[in-house]
């Protein structure tokens, strides 16, 4: 009896929920929720390629390794919202890193997985890890030995760019190859 005033609202809400749930495909969360991810992904991809190693310099400061010949300059790749798939534009980056690692079997790399700030922190640890694992799979497929690879997820704890906007988010959804 007490449900009656809510029955209508609940029915609408549940049907909306079902529709919303149906609209996103399983396994990945598209930018269907707010359309920001999908809409700007293309733009971000282009921007991502232009990014220099300035972002990873912070994490690798003091390391003399970057001056060794061979370590690829580009060691950061970016991801779409709620996605851990390698974007085609970054395959070359990964290829060059894979090549380096193959040719330097003693070199080790730590794949740092990161997310943007949205969502809960521990879950984002998992998302970040997924992205790093995605890169790890790519590298091992390219012949890199798994023993050279370590995976660490920082989730949203180490953003590259502060801000509550899509540009900042896009710059934070990344995996850094930390040698």
């Amino acid at each position: 009896m007490k449900f009656k005033p809510y029955a209508k609202g609940l029915a609408v809400a549940v049907s909306l929920a079902v529709m919303a749930g149906c609209s996103s495909s399983g396994g990945t969360q598209d930018g269907s929720m707010n359309g920001t991810g999908g809409g700007t992904a293309g733009g971000m991809g282009a921007g991502g390629q232009g990014v220099s190693g300035g972002q990873v310099s912070g994490t690798q400061m003091g390391g003399g390794q970057q001056q060794q010949a061979g370590i690829p300059d580009v060691r950061t790749i970016y991801f779409d919202y709620d996605k851990d798939t390698i974007r085609p534009e970054f395959e070359s980056v990964l290829n060059s890193n894979a090549q380096y690692l193959r040719s330097h079997p003693n070199a080790n790399v730590v794949l740092q997985g990161h997310t943007d700030e949205r969502g809960t922190r521990e879950y984002n640890l998992g998302l970040g890890e997924r992205r790093a694992q995605s890169v790890e799979r790519f590298l091992t497929v390219q012949g890199v030995s798994p023993s050279q690879i370590d995976v660490v997820s920082y989730g949203e704890e180490r953003p590259a760019v502060e801000g509550h906007n899509e540009q900042a988010y896009a710059k934070n959804r990344r995996v850094i190859l930390d040698y």
Binding site: A17, Q29, T120, E122, L125, G126, E162
Partner: protein
């Protein structure tokens, strides 16, 4: 007279026909949204040198609960200090349901706080007590008054003498400094218990309130530590590869649930703290994390994206079965039980952002409690009346508290940088 009779009878018939039952009964099915008006009169003190304003602390405590609307000090019609100085008529005139009066008298190095609570409309004294505290515990004494007043009026135990833990981040980039703090529930008396160059996450209070478990990246990877608050001593409980995260104390304090991805993806485990023995609860390809125990210790709620996106599930320790709990929207995570186990608080992603939400487990109705948009880490007060969580104010991370019914909220004062990851302690006694 004979002529009057037909009229009289007619009137009486009409009168009595409208009084179908012996007494008229009017149905009242709703009330007002307002908080309970209460007057907390400044406590009498001897010479005005008391370092703390007891009545002010009590007023703020009651206001923060969302259930009370304390009278502004300028609106107090009188300043009684004992119940026999209270004229109920005065307080009816300002529409105050209750009056709190008291006095503080020094006793050596201590203070004796006497307080009384009056029911204005019932015109009677409801409560009268005295408590003695040391000079540096005046705030605790005031919180004690708030607890007692709260419980006498609402029937629910007050949570004003509890504490919170939280993480701060200051600076940017590589210079970022992280710290773990504990403070009073009102944000006062903050104390840093850990400082680090590397991220700190997920503080969790032990049920006896004496220890904190947390995640720290100081070793280069996430790892779970347990630190004794009194001594500062700590133990690293885990150092598995992959994620070591989301520690959650069992109600008996002997076990810690956690999320470990050592076997490929994050799964829920339960570790016996004494023996360090591990029990694996989940086994699938999805992310399973953020476990939290039900108050009866028989089940845990956790986040899993096995359905495609993060939703809350309940794992029954007896049956080993998991059942899905949330079906509203496509992002529900970080579930926390209310102390009576009937409500689940969580982060729910709606059309306009991430909100603290409540789901009543008997109706499964989801209610959004906060109107802020970047909410994280909800933690429930031990009396179930309030939820503390992290959110954004401009570009700063701040802590916010919302009442369990969503009717009131307040921001905690914070001076240092970004504040996040709050955890509400249990009752501290």
């Amino acid at each position: 007279m004979k002529r009057l009779t037909p009229y009289l009878c007619g009137w009486l018939i009409l009168l009595f026909s409208s009084l179908a039952s012996a007494d008229l009964t009017i149905q009242i099915t709703k009330g007002s949204d307002q908080a309970i008006p209460i007057a907390v009169v400044p406590f009498a003190e001897q010479d005005g040198t008391l370092p703390e304003d007891i009545a002010d602390i009590v007023s703020n405590d009651l206001a923060r609960s969302g259930q009370f609307d304390p009278l502004a000090r300028s609106a107090l019609v009188a300043t009684p200090h004992t119940s026999d100085q209270v004229y109920y008529r005065d307080w009816r005139a300002v529409d105050s349901n209750y009056v709190v009066v008291g006095q503080v008298t020094p006793q050596g190095n201590d203070y004796r706080i006497q307080f009384e609570l009056m029911d204005v409309y019932g015109e009677k004294r409801m409560l009268g007590e005295a408590v003695t505290v040391s000079a540096n515990q005046l705030r605790a004494g005031a919180h004690y008054v708030s607890d007692k007043v709260f419980e006498a009026i609402t029937g629910v135990r007050g949570a004003f003498s509890t504490r919170i833990a939280y993480v701060t981040a200051q600076g940017a980039g590589d210079d970022r400094q992280f710290a773990l703090h504990v403070a009073d529930a009102d944000g006062h008396n903050g104390q840093q218990i850990l400082g680090s160059d590397d991220p700190i996450m997920s503080p969790a209070w032990s049920p006896d309130g004496k220890k904190l478990a947390y995640v720290s990246f100081e070793s280069g990877n996430s790892a779970i530590y347990v630190q004794n608050l009194a001594t500062g001593q700590r133990v690293q409980l885990t150092s598995f590869s992959g994620i070591n995260g989301a520690p959650a104390w069992s109600p008996d304090g002997r076990r810690l649930a956690m999320s470990l991805s050592k076997d490929g993806q994050p799964e829920i485990y339960v570790m016996d703290i004494g023996s360090r023995g591990l029990q694996r609860l989940t086994n699938n390809d999805s992310i399973d994390t953020e476990p939290s125990w039900a108050p009866d210790g028989q089940s845990l709620v956790f986040t899993s994206d096995r359905s495609g996106g993060p939703q809350l599930y309940r794992y029954n320790l007896g049956s080993g079965q998991s059942e899905r709990l949330t079906f509203t929207g496509n992002y529900n995570s970080r579930g926390r039980f209310s102390p009576d186990g009937k409500t689940l608080f969580m982060i729910h992603r709606g059309n306009d952002g991430f909100h603290v939400a409540r789901q009543d487990l008997d109706t499964n109705r989801l209610t959004i409690l906060s109107d802020s948009r970047w909410d994280e880490s909800p933690s429930v007060a031990p009396n179930g009346s309030m939820v503390i969580f992290a959110t954004q104010q401009g570009n700063r991370g701040v802590l916010s508290v919302v009442s369990a019914d969503g009717n009131a909220s307040y921001r905690l004062p914070s001076a240092q940088g970004d504040v996040r990851e709050p955890a509400w302690s249990p009752f501290m006694n």
